[in-house]
Every structure is written in C-alpha cells, then in structure tokens.
Symmetry: none
Subunit: 389 residues, 2 copies
DNA sequence: ACGTCAGGGTCAAAGGTCGG
DNA sequence: TCCGACCTTTGACCCTGACG
C-alpha cells in the first residue's frame, strides 16, 4: 500500500480503482455513475468541495473530480499513445451475474469491434496511399491525420472526379471484404449492401478526409485533388453536392471534433443497413449494425465522461448519428448528378460505377460484383485502380 | 430483520435507524429535528405517551424518547485510532444532492421537454380528428392508439393523397407554431425549417400512424384512408415510396415497439435541423435540436433500464435515430413523385404544397408562409383544411 | 499454492420525494 | 407546514479471476 488517501475526497483509500487511488465510496459511486449512464448537473458553480463529509452534496462535482483524479471507464488515455500500458488498464466492465444466483454462461471478452474497424480502415488507407503515390506526386495520406501540402494540391478536373469515384468504389469493396460480419453474408446480400451503401460511404469518406483542410469551402477527393464549392458547379455539380457536403457534413464534423474511431463506426453502421433494397437476411445485417452501434455508443459515453467540462461531448452518439440523414440525402443527389452527367456524356461511367452508384430498377447483372468479391484481398488492387489511367 | 417493533412508538419498525430500531416516521422525525436544529418544548409534564397514535401530539417528548431509545445524532467515534469500531456508527449526515425521481414534477424546475412535445402532438391530433370528423365518416383518431375499423376504412384515391398532404402541411405548421423553441426564431429561419422538414415529417407521421394497422403492406393517410403498396404504384408512386415507408420505417418501428414519446422526440429532432438550407441562426436551431436529443436519450436509457431483460431496448436511442436516414431518403423521393405528378398534371398542387414540398432553387416568395405563420393558432384551421373540398 | 490487486456484487441504513 | 410511506443512493464488506 503506497498511498492511503483517496485522491477524490481525502477519505481513507482502499487501493487503486479505475485508475485512481480512492476509497470504496468513490469507487462505488464511479461505477454506478458509469453503469447507469448518469448525467449529473451541478446546482451551483461547478466547484463544490468534494471531501469526506461533503462528497454526497454534489454528484456532478464528485464525478468530475473522479475523472480529474484519473478515473477512466475504459482506461484508454484520452489522446496519448500508450502501446506499453495496453496491458492492465482499468475499466468498467460488463455487468456480472448476481452473486448467489445461478451463473449464465455469458459470452464476451472478444476484441473491441471498433478497434477491428480501425484496422480495416488503416489497411484501406495504406492501399490508397500506395495507389496515389503511383498516380500523383502527393505525399501519402496517413489515415486522415497528416498535414496538408497546399502547394502540391491541385484543383480537381472532371476526369479527377470520375477517377476518384472509381478508386473509392474499389477500396470500398476491399474494405467490405475485410469485415468478418460482411463475409458471412450471402452473395446476394453482399451485393445489396454494396449497392445500397456505396454513394453514402463515398460521401462520408470525402467529408472525413476534408475536415483537416483549412482552406474554406473545399473538399478533398480520394486522389487528393481539391474541389471548391463554386468550382464544382462548373464541373457537373448541378445539385450543389459539394456545397452541401461542406455545410451539412464537414463543418458539423469539425464542430464535433469527430475522430477516426467515430468515423469508422459511423461508416460501418451506415453500411450494415438492414432495410437496404433486396436484402434477404435482414436479421444478420441488423445484428452487425447493432453490434457496431453498441461499441460506438459505449465509446461516445466514455469520451463524454473524459470531457465532462466540454459540452460538445454530451449526447455525442446522437449528435454524430444525426449527421447521417443529411449524408443520405446528399448521397442521393450525388447519384442524380452522376446520372445527369452520364446523360450529357460528361463523364465516362465504367461498369463498377454503373453497378454501385446508379442503382437501376432492374435486378443487376451480378457479374462485375462477383468478380470483385471473388478476388482475394490485396491481389492486384493497384492494377485494378490504375486500369483507368 | 432483527426486530419488528419501533422502540420509540411501538409502530412497525423498518429496521435500525440512527442506532435504534424504529419506524420510518420516527426515523424521519429524528432526522428533520436534528437537521433543522429544532428546540421543542413540552407543554405538559415531560412524560407524554409516545405511541403510534399519539406520537405527533408532543414533539418534545417524541424526540426525548428517540434519544432514550438510543438514537444518536453524531456518531463520531471516541478516538480516531480506534480500529475496533470499524462498525458503522449511526449519524445524521450532511445534506446530499437532490436525486429527483418520483413521477410528475421533473428535474431542475422546468417541465420535461418531451412532455411538452407530447402535449403539442395531442393538440394537433385533436385538430386533425375534428377535421376528419367533418370530412369523412370515420371515428376520430385518438393519438395513434385507437383500434382500427377496417369496415369503415376505404382505399385512398389520388385526390385523397393530395388532400392528405395538404392537411398534413397545415397541421405541420400549427404544430411548429406551438413549439416555443420555434417561435423564438427569426421569420426567415422559420420558413427554412418548415420547407426543409415538411416532407420528412409528413412521412414520419404517416409511418407512425400506420404501425397500428394489422393489414399487411398498407399505410394510413392523414385523412384515415388506406394506401396499399401495390395500389400506390397505380396512383403516381413511381419511386415505390409507399413500399419503402413500410419496409424501411413502419416495420422497423414495429420491431422496436416505438412509442408516442419517442415519436414526438424524433419529429422535433428531425425538424430542428441546423444545416437546413437558408438557415441563418444555426446555433439556435442546434440548441433546440440538442435539447430534445438530450431528453430523448435520457428517456431511452430509462426505458432500457426498465426492460433490462429485453434486448430490444439496448442502444435504443441509436436504433431509433437510425430510422432517420431512410426517412430522409424516402422523403426526397416523395418530393420527386409529387414533382412528376405535377408535371403530368395528375395532381393539383396548391400554393402551400408548392412552397413546402417542392423546394425550388429560387428564394421563395414568403407570402404564403407569412400568412400561415401570422395567424393565431386554432383560428379557422378547419376552414383552411377544408378549403380544398 | 497463495497473496495481492482490482474488477464485481450485496444490502442495511443512510438519503430524498411529495401527496396528503 | 410537517408527516411518513415509498423510493434511491451510499459504502463497508465480500466474491472472483488474473497475475506474480
């Protein structure tokens, strides 16, 4: 026993709990607060005394102090790298069975779903980087967190837009194939999800990639060319898709300080859409969606608790999910844009684009998707992406 | 359970309190007396009976007897180093934080937001009922919870669809006007929200109204006529809007057992869309949206806690919010349907419909909305709804 | 094997609520 | 106003599983 005093209330400590030396009272209080997702509100000035005798007077300030003292619900240090302390971090775990009652063999302990999604994302970003290195002179794109070289960036042409969409589609399929929950689905359902999600997920990706830009009213395409709001209308953006992406998605993402974890979660949630057209096994898709949703909500709550003082993080999961309706609407308009562009012969629509973006009424010829789905991951992707050059 | 009789008044005891076996009454009396430092004085001989029926006759004697029975106001152990007295000692503690639980009056003074929304909804439903009573032979619709009379229901005609949309728009404006958060907005922003939300909110309303139907693949329009999935395609539903409403909204709502509270919350969240076109005061709209979101998430968590065994309620807020992207997409298609129907002269588009559903690019002539917004609630609504007859 | 640490749960006895 | 039936929260104490 190194220390004896509770870092929260100065009572006698009983050891380290959730990352902080604390007493049994503060330990129990913290667990209950996390478990029941309590959101307390201070009735005074947010600076109430939290001492042994007064600790029950204000739960908001007590919880605040727990967090300040280092208590964590998932133990992940908020923004620091910690590859070492991945072992042994404190955490509020899942509820256990009641003591004294019969045990129900519970299944858990598997790797966090959201971490898996981050890995899948990193894989695809590496793929993209290597492709871009070969097709342009830009620095590789490191998972949306690299600083931007404005000097190197150039404005997108109509051709860039078409190529970018094509690239994104190829990467999208690779991404999907790397998700276990996807691979277990029937072939037809795979096609349904790909077709139903392509446009939205491309828009989501473009938006997330663009939050690091500091130049106003501009988005960053998949091949790292830039597309400004006004410029876009000259290259076929009849529906102001670019403007809407910036106003309705990129700026809100910036305000919310959306991070990579949240991005990959939203992407997967969007993708596993059980009510997508022609989906036969809705339950399987729904299960996958809800599994991601559960991880996502948990992480949002954790993040909110680590940032109690910052209102941005309150109701975080809801705020982020509310980006999706706009996203859906914009994606639909993007499809219209592409349809119109094809109608006027402005853009060269290849078969993959036709299959995934222009969702026709007719039951699609599954040839193209079959080919993409059948090929093993990483095999000649570069070749496939560059085939358009 | 050690003893059963209160040592102070012989009432039934509820356990040991402050060091004495006692009832809840004596427990509460002792706490209040100590907390408020009451000094009672006996008006008789200091030997009043303290029994269940007479205990409130003399507070001085009651408190005296509490103390005699062993109640202690301060359990400070005689010495700090008495490791033996680790047993809990009775004490009146300091005042704690408010917990706010018991039904009705809610936390921090102001009425719960979601309750306000339910009231607004009920008001509009009453309005609708009275309108329908005058224009059809159907029983009044009681807030979505009345049983359906299949014999009385009839299939919707194209005319019904147009009328239904018009009715919904009028009620939509009335509903918005009844929300305080709406009335505080600038005139232009009001128009922006109404235009941006009309289609989605009509679809949401139709869907929620339809969950009580037990007949398959059918929705219930605002004037209580029925519209089947197949039948709809014959009356201008080119985009399969009806089918999508059923598959993507109504059925998921049924699976989730969505209730009225959740419906009104989603409606308001959808309505207060800060990124709607032409909105100048995004912050005000966002504040309104997030206020509803907060109430909504809180209620979802409460509902989940009440139904721990039922998996349906896990992540409830997220599951419900995920109805909105589909809803948005469908609403957009409904707009297209209406546009096409007008193009082919199939439907009579009145000015309100033109203004709210067919969001043109041109900055709209604010005449029509101004009129609607200016008129006091409840004034000649019936006349306005029936103007089309 | 066995103690320590840090998760989890329990439930008596504190607390607060609010109609009467 | 105060009372007290009824509810929630607290925290001392105990159980469990991982690790050395």
């Amino acid at each position: 026993m190194v220390e004896e005093i509770c870092h929260i209330c100065n009572d006698k400590a009983t050891g380290k709990h959730y990352g902080a030396i604390s007493c049994d009272g503060c330990k129990g209080f913290f667990r209950r607060s996390i478990r029941k997702r309590y959101h307390y509100q201070c009735r005074f000035e947010q600076n109430c005394d939290v001492t042994r005798n007064k600790r029950n007077a204000c739960r908001a300030c007590r919880l605040q102090k727990c967090i300040k003292a280092g208590m964590k619900s998932n133990g992940k240090p908020s923004s620091l790298f910690s590859t070492i302390s991945l072992l042994q971090f404190p955490a509020i775990q899942n509820e256990r069975d009641a003591i004294g009652k019969r045990k129900k063999t519970s299944v858990n302990g598997k790797q966090d779903l959201i971490e898996q999604l981050v890995e899948a994302e990193n894989l695809c970003q590496q793929l993209r980087s290597s492709v871009i290195r070969n097709t342009s002179s830009l620095a590789p794109y490191d998972c949306g967190k690299v600083k931007w070289n404005y000097e190197d960036a150039r404005a997108a042409t109509l051709d860039d837009i078409g190529k970018s969409i094509h690239q994104q589609l190829v990467l999208f399929i690779e991404w999907a194939k790397s998700l276990p929950q996807f691979t277990f689905l029937a072939q037809l359902d795979k096609a349904a999800l790909l077709k139903g999600g392509a446009a939205s997920i491309i828009v989501l990706g473009v938006a997330y990639r663009s939050i690091i830009l500091t130049v106003e009213n501009t988005i960053c395409l998949a091949n790292d060319t830039l597309l400004g709001k006004e410029h876009a209308t000259q290259v076929g953006d009849i529906n102001c898709v670019v403007g809407r992406i910036i106003d309705e998605i990129v700026n809100p993402m910036r305000r919310l300080n959306m991070d990579l974890y949240e991005y990959v979660a939203l992407k997967a949630i969007l993708f596993f859409n059980p009510v997508v057209r022609d989906c036969t096994d809705q339950d399987a898709v729904e299960t996958a969606r809800y599994a991601v949703l559960r991880s996502f909500q948990k992480r949002c709550v954790d993040k909110a608790l680590e940032n109690m003082e910052d209102d941005t993080f309150d109701c975080r999961s809801g705020k982020l999910l509310l980006l999706l309706p706009s996203l859906q609407a914009i994606a639909q308009q993007l499809v219209e844009d592409v349809q119109l562009a094809r109608l006027f012969g402005l853009v060269n629509v290849d078969s993959l684009m036709e299959e995934l973006i222009l969702n026709d009424m007719k039951p699609s010829d599954p040839q193209i998707l079959q080919t993409s789905l059948a090929s093993p991951v990483n095999t000649s992707i570069k070749a496939e992406v560059e085939v358009e050059d």
